[in-house]
């Protein structure tokens, strides 16, 4: 019987809705175990790993492969006993601490403290960008961040370059038409190009453009998917801080979610969760520290590091997407000089 120390609130309510059911083991890794529950995956993680939506963290260092748990094996969930059993190994989450992974909920729960000034937020984003360019894995979408050519494009980033630029246009337009984003020049933009405010069409295009990125790239979670997760993380962060409406964030998320069939189950699961604003704890921590009034560069970078560490290039790709969407917001907010 292995005790679990943490469980995400989403996993808890998901399992609660299931009661006693037989599921199957989707995949087994040294430090993670994925259980297929209908259309979704519940993941059990080894000690010390970051909590993400629909995950449970073991209180001990666990090697799931060594435990003899096999892909396809039967898995039993008993919510009343707070226990999951796979191949005779039981995981007990009755004492697990509950962690919210929904940034909108976490954001609303936090003690309202002073917010950072927009220029400070902006300069922090710039600091993170420099950090990622210096320390990130250049094998995924990182080269897209680099406008001066100092990081070489690889096969994947070259493929995605035009596609992400298309997505950027959609996001900027959608932000500009958001009710929260009121600038003195909004009316001028509407008058100048009325078709740009056909927001519904813009969302259709966005769904299509997300689809042209989903599934592309190296890794178990293809780089394009991680990029999308990062984009959604930034979008929901903006919503959580009240800079765009939750409605806009939700619709952007929907556009991404409609494409999850284009990728594998594991990666798709992350996109699905992100499309509802459900993110891993380390991404939430980073997002919150961006907007905190008082945040030192060291603190910021140490939080960015935790995200950078995911997988081999996943962390880099997520941060790339996050920065991409953050800059899109600033571009939407600014006025291009004529």
């Amino acid at each position: 019987m292995i005790k679990c120390s943490d469980i995400s609130a989403e996993a808890l309510s998901f399992l609660g809705a299931m009661e006693k059911r037989d599921f199957s083991v989707h995949s087994v890794f040294a430090h993670a175990l994925n259980i297929q529950c209908g259309d979704d995956l519940i993941t059990i993680l080894s000690k010390g790993r970051d909590v993400f939506p629909l995950s449970i963290v073991s209180a001990e260092e666990t090697d799931f492969e060594e435990l003899g748990i096999r892909q396809g094996g039967l898995c039993e969930v008993s919510f009343s006993e707070k226990r999951i059993t796979a191949s005779d190994v039981s995981f007990d989450f009755s004492d697990a601490g509950i962690t919210d992974c929904d940034i909108l909920i976490v954001g609303s729960k936090k003690i309202s403290s002073e917010k950072a000034k927009p220029e400070d937020v902006f300069s922090r984003i710039s600091v993170i960008e420099k950090f990622v360019l210096q320390n990130g894995n250049p094998g995924g979408v990182l080269p897209l961040l680099c406008t001066d050519g100092s990081v070489q494009q690889n096969i994947w980033s070259a493929f995605l370059k035009g596609r992400t630029e298309d997505l950027e246009k959609d996001i900027i337009r959608v932000f500009r038409c958001d009710n929260k984003l009121i600038t003195p020049y909004t009316e001028e933009i509407f008058r100048a190009s009325p078709e740009d405010c056909s927001v519904c069409d813009r969302f259709v295009l966005m769904e299509n453009h997300f689809g042209k990125i989903t599934g592309a790239g190296p890794g178990l979670t293809p780089s394009g998917d991680d990029f999308i997760t990062g984009v959604l993380a930034a979008v929901f962060t903006l919503a959580s801080e009240g800079l765009i409406t939750r409605e806009t964030a939700g619709r952007i998320g929907e556009c991404a979610a409609l494409n999850v069939k284009k990728t594998n189950t594991i990666s798709g699961s992350f996109i699905k969760q992100a499309s509802r604003g459900c993110l891993s704890r380390s991404i939430i921590e980073l997002s919150l520290s961006l907007f905190k009034a008082d945040c030192s560069e060291n603190e910021l970078l140490s939080k960015a590091t935790r995200v950078l560490d995911f997988g081999s290039s996943s962390g880099t790709d997520i941060l790339t997407g996050f920065l991409f969407a953050s800059y899109a917001f600033y571009k939407a907010y600014s006025v291009s000089k004529r």
Binding site: P118, E119, F122, S123, S126, V127, E129, K130, F131, L133, Q134, N135, L301, Y327, Y330, K331, Y333, S334, S336
Partner: protein, 58 residues
């Protein structure tokens, strides 16, 4: 007198993090000690792009 922190350390298992060259880590791993190696790199600083982007905020 309360035990000093260092005296307490003498009674614990040493769990070592090595930062920098990994030969020391390899040696400790060979002997079976609890150890982890950090492939340490310096953190970036500086902000040229900030200047560029800030101009867009005007």
């Amino acid at each position: 007198m309360a035990k000093s922190r260092l005296n307490e350390l003498f009674e614990k298992e040493l769990i070592i993090v090595s930062l920098g060259v990994d030969t020391f880590y390899q040696d400790m791993k060979k002997q079976g000690f609890s150890t982890i190696h950090v492939d340490w790199k310096p953190v970036a600083g500086g902000n040229e792009k900030l200047a560029n982007m800030l101009s867009l905020l005007e």
